[in-house]
Amino acid sequence: MSETLVQVENLRKLFPLTRGLFRRESLFVHAVDDVNFTIKRGESLGLVGESGSGKTTTGKLLVRLLEPTSGRILMKMDGEEVDISKLKGESLKRFRRYVQMIFQDPYESLNPRFTVFDTVAEPLVVQGIGDVLEREERVAQMLALVGLTPPSSFLFRFPHELSGGQRQRVAIARALIIEPSFVVADEPTSMLDVSIRTGIMYLMLDLAERLGVTYLYITHDLAVARYMSSKLAVMYLGKIVEMGETEEVLQKPLHPYTRALISAVPVPDPRYKRPIPEIKGAISEPINPPPTCRFLDRCLQATRICKDSPHPPLEDKGGGHYVACYMV
């Protein structure tokens, strides 16, 4: 069953930079600028990029923590295709049953005054599902599912009594308890120790298979994205510059930014000699950017065409491998 679950069209999010009470705001940060992608049911899309790339903002737009400035986000809920970017009130609350989020910081994403039971049961409480006894049972089942066994000894603990890995498991339990069809994971393992990280990664993969959950996995770590996603999209300054099957993008990168990014990742093997990343300059903020290619001032392969044309469109260069570059 490979039907499309999420379809993002021309998604834009602009943040104004306020300059005083009466000056008209003319400076905007183009955090997400004309982003398009689709995620099929059961797939996991990895969204990678450095700071300022817009990946976290995209994630927040997809769970409606932020409202898009323009564009559409179409999601299949109960067989219907709905544009969630415009939802309000009751329908927005209903939408929340289908989409959930796992946050980056296991220490901050849990309310320190809530017990594990309170935290994991909250989505059920808010959505009005079940009575107290039913919730207790479901929470216990969920805790067992994420590896916090025996559940009875974890139910009434507080976050400060848990380790980082355990807290993240609680966060995963909370996200999955209302059985969403789509989960946005925002760097869920970057703050965990390495030996704990793989446990959480495998837990998420295992649960995705078992519960039929589709993921958007946001990370800055290409190596982790390799394991957690079947498709990969690389973002730079608010735009997707390359997208395709994960192994394809990682082994045969086409966009100069992707190539630079991959060659910059340290490899855990002293024998391996990495090439020097072909990139110059430093990352900037996309504030009222010029219409030319976003990567222009850092690209070592830029030509006259790149300087004279608008930002290149994301095009299929064969086999579902999309690149936004004139030089490819």
């Binding site: 450095e50 700071s51 380790s163 890995g165 120790d193 390495v194 030996s195 704990i196 990280r197 793989t198 446990g199 990664m201 495998y202 800055h220 290409l222 190596a223 982790v224 390799r226 394991y227 192994e247 990682l250 630079a260 990014l261 991959i262 060659s263 910059a264 990742v265 340290p266 490899v267 855990p268 093997d269 002293p270 024998r271 391996y272 990495r274 020097i276 990343p277 990139i279 430093a282 990352i283």
Partner: protein, 322 residues
């Protein structure tokens, strides 16, 4: 064989807390040769930062050195007083702290901060000579000297990190300890800084200790690597040796737990359990609760830290066959 510049013998350090005594660094033996770069790898709580601040004797009030020696160029640093230590700090040994970007004082110009560091440790210097030196340092770390008189908030993350490295180099130290120097940086900036640190080291012949939880970073910059776990060094060898012929099961586990974008997509390994509570460390070998090869003796006695050939040291009762 270059002479050794730092020799740590049997060093133990504990923290006194309300809950009890935390065994942060336990019986560590380490030797670094001049010009070498040593990488210390371990997860949070393994003691690598505690060891680093012990070498600099920048210990918090509740830290107690329980025993051992830290010989720097022949002198034992452990019994030295604060005043005596000041002769060594920054002039002979300097440190780049974790989240170093935040250790720049926001109300002073960067150049002034570096000059202050030099004056504190060199005594009075001619102001213009000092500024000349700062400009040279900036060029050395890849910063344009024209940014010299700006304030830290006007710098980007990568620039601030370079400024902190410049400050660590200001007094021409023999040894630099870099504690997670690139952790908070984007990967392309990290690559830049790591290359520069390596080039600098080769050019100046400085000895370096890199501390990180990221094995990949350590693999790139270190000649020799030490693996720390629960306050002890469990394995110490040349970089290639450790990666391709690990002896300690924790080292092997750590290697296999790290995903890589290069090579085939092999299955990642989980090390079960959690790093131990150092208030009450496990008996015998501190890794035994998580080790699949653990036997009776592992629970009872601490293994010796011995040489398995050509300087490859490890402490394990059931070493992996090479």
């Amino acid at each position: 064989m270059a002479e050794s510049i730092l020799k740590i013998e049997n060093f133990t350090m504990h923290y006194m807390t309300k809950a009890g005594e935390v065994s942060a660094v336990d019986n560590v033996d380490l030797e670094i040769r001049k010009g070498e770069s040593l990488g210390l790898v371990g997860e949070s709580g393994c003691g690598k930062t505690s060891l680093a601040i012990s070498i600099m004797k920048l210990l918090p009030e509740n830290a107690i050195i329980k025993g051992g020696h830290i010989y720097f160029d022949g002198t034992d640093l452990v019994p030295l007083s604060e005043d005596e230590m000041r002769r060594f700090r920054w002039r002979r040994i300097s440190m780049i702290f974790q989240a170093a970007m935040n250790s720049l004082n926001p109300v002073y110009k960067v150049s002034d901060q570096i000059i202050e560091a030099m004056e504190t440790h060199f005594g009075h210097i001619d102001y213009y000579e000092a500024r000349e030196k700062v400009a040279n340092l900036f060029r050395l770390v890849g910063l344009d000297p024209k940014f010299m008189d700006q304030y830290p908030h006007e710098y980007s993350g990568g620039m601030r990190q370079r400024a902190v490295i410049a400050m660590a180099l200001a007094c021409d130290p023999d040894l630099i300890i870099a504690d997670e120097p690139t952790t908070a940086l984007d990967v392309i900036v990290q690559d830049n800084i790591l290359r520069e640190l390596k080039a600098l080291q080769e050019k100046l012949g400085t000895t370096m200790i890199y501390i990180s939880h990221d094995i990949a970073v350590i693999a790139e910059v270190s000649h020799r690597i030490g693996i720390m776990y629960a306050g002890k060094i469990v394995e110490l060898a040349d970089a290639e040796e450790i990666f391709h012929h690990p002896i300690h099961p924790y080292t092997a586990g750590l290697m296999s737990a790290f995903p890589s974008i290069v090579g085939p997509k092999r299955e990642l390994v989980t090390i079960p359990g959690e790093p131990p509570d150092l208030l009450n460390p496990p008996s015998g070998c501190r890794f035994h609760p998580r080790c699949q090869y653990a036997t009776k003796i592992c629970r009872e006695k601490e293994p010796e830290f011995k040489d398995y050939g050509s300087g490859h040291m490890a402490s394990c009762w059931n070493p992996l066959e090479g």
